[in-house]
């Protein structure tokens, strides 16, 4: 059976990966992943994505947490 490609959302610090059907805006993907926008940057390769950027099926994005503690 053929599986339609989806958006791959990687959260490297949590060692987590999600498959979400697209197209979706970055802010919607963050909501889906349960991540608050003011705590992360979202990247695609060497590109930084704005929250209204539209991500298509078959693409991969990384959600990088920026919160440091201590």
């Amino acid at each position: 059976m053929y599986n339609a490609p989806m958006i791959t959302v990687r959260l490297p610090q949590k060692k987590k990966e999600l498959e979400i059907p697209g197209p979706r805006r970055v802010m919607d993907l963050l909501a889906e992943a349960g991540v608050r926008p003011t705590t992360v940057i979202v990247t695609q390769g060497r590109k930084l994505l704005t929250k209204d950027h539209r991500v298509e099926d078959g693409e991969t994005i990384d959600i990088i947490s920026v919160v440091s503690g201590g």
Partner: protein
């Protein structure tokens, strides 16, 4: 979305708190302006300063070093190897690689060689790792700066760090800490070097975006010792507010820094943390974990520590007292094992 400044290139960074979005080139200009304005407004640095930049391998400190070098300040980096398995090696690697890319060799202090690696020292004295780490780092920041004839120590604390600390201090009514909290901790006689936080106007997202776009390879993993840090609870609360009401964080902090704010007395009241005595015995209360100053009788001019000569307001400095407690704990443990 187009860049709000040049109106030509595609935006890469959106900043709701500034009602703005920037392409990479315009964001670099914006970010550097935020930092230089923060330095100018509070007179944190002078062009002739020799700056010791404390670098951990994380985004904030490496970005700070990068900006200060680009702005023409005379800087050297100081890396303190905390002796945390794996994490310290990976952090050091990032610092050395970044420094090499800028033709620099950082000063490295290895706490294992100094006989006080953080995880073991914290176990010995039964204190929170972050608290032990703060005492040890403050000691070496000042010692290296004084020995190396640096005029100022710079750390990468950003707006999120400072507002988290402010919220913690307010919630627990830490009036002494509130009076001293400031991006400028003045130096004092007796060898206490001035400390500054030039990133006080920029958020963690902005610092991370700057580091990413500049290709600075920083450690993204969190220090394993800070997993339960109370500062993270305050940061989470503030980020929830910031999500709903962008710009709240900077308004909160600028309002606090306003000289007319009766909660604080201005930088002249900021007692240098390096010389402040360490709290005794019991684990540090949660509220203290986001504060920098272990306040006691810290007025006037510090004197020399009876043991090491470092500036202190007590008989011996907090670092020497910590080392002594670690030494005693080790002796006790060794005696138990040999029985």
């Amino acid at each position: 979305m187009k860049c709000k400044r040049c109106r030509r290139a595609e935006a890469a960074v959106d900043l709701p708190s500034h009602h703005a979005a920037f392409c990479p080139d315009c964001f670099f200009l914006f970010f550097r302006r935020q930092v230089t304005e923060g330095i100018r407004k509070l007179r944190l640095l002078a062009p002739e300063d020799r700056v010791l930049v404390c670098v951990s391998g994380g985004k904030d400190s490496l970005v700070l070093w990068d900006v200060l070098m680009d702005e023409g300040y005379e800087t050297e980096g100081l890396y303190i190897d905390l002796g945390i398995d794996g994490y310290s090696d990976r952090s050091k690697e990032k610092v050395l690689a970044y420094a090499a890319s800028r033709g620099k060799t950082p000063i490295v202090i290895e706490l294992a060689k100094e006989g006080i690696p953080i995880p073991e020292a914290a176990r010995c004295v039964r204190m929170q790792e972050c608290s032990v780490c703060g005492t040890v780092k403050r000691y070496f920041f000042n010692r290296v700066a004084a020995e190396g004839k640096f005029t100022v120590v710079a750390t990468g604390h950003n707006l999120d760090d400072e507002t988290a600390r402010l919220l913690g201090n307010l919630l627990h009514w830490q009036r002494d800490h509130l009076a001293r909290q400031h991006p400028l901790l003045p130096g004092a006689g007796g060898g206490l070097v001035r400390k500054v936080k030039p990133l006080w106007r920029v958020s963690e997202v902005e610092t991370a975006a700057y580091g990413f776009l500049k290709g600075i390879d920083y450690v993204t993993e969190e220090c394993p010792m800070s997993e339960d840090a109370t500062s993270l609870v305050y940061k989470e609360a503030l980020s929830r507010i910031e999500d709903r009401m962008p710009g709240t964080r900077i308004v909160f902090y600028k309002g606090f820094l306003d000289p007319s704010n009766p909660l604080r007395k201005g930088p002249e009241a900021a007692a240098p943390a390096d010389a402040a005595p360490m709290p005794e015995d019991a684990p540090v209360p949660d509220a203290m974990r986001v504060t920098e100053v272990d306040a006691e009788e810290d007025v006037g001019t510090p004197r020399a520590c009876a043991s090491c000569g470092a500036p202190t307001y007590a008989e011996t400095c907090s670092y020497c007292r910590l080392k002594e407690r670690v030494r005693k704990a080790r002796s006790l443990r060794a005696a138990k094992v040999s029985r």
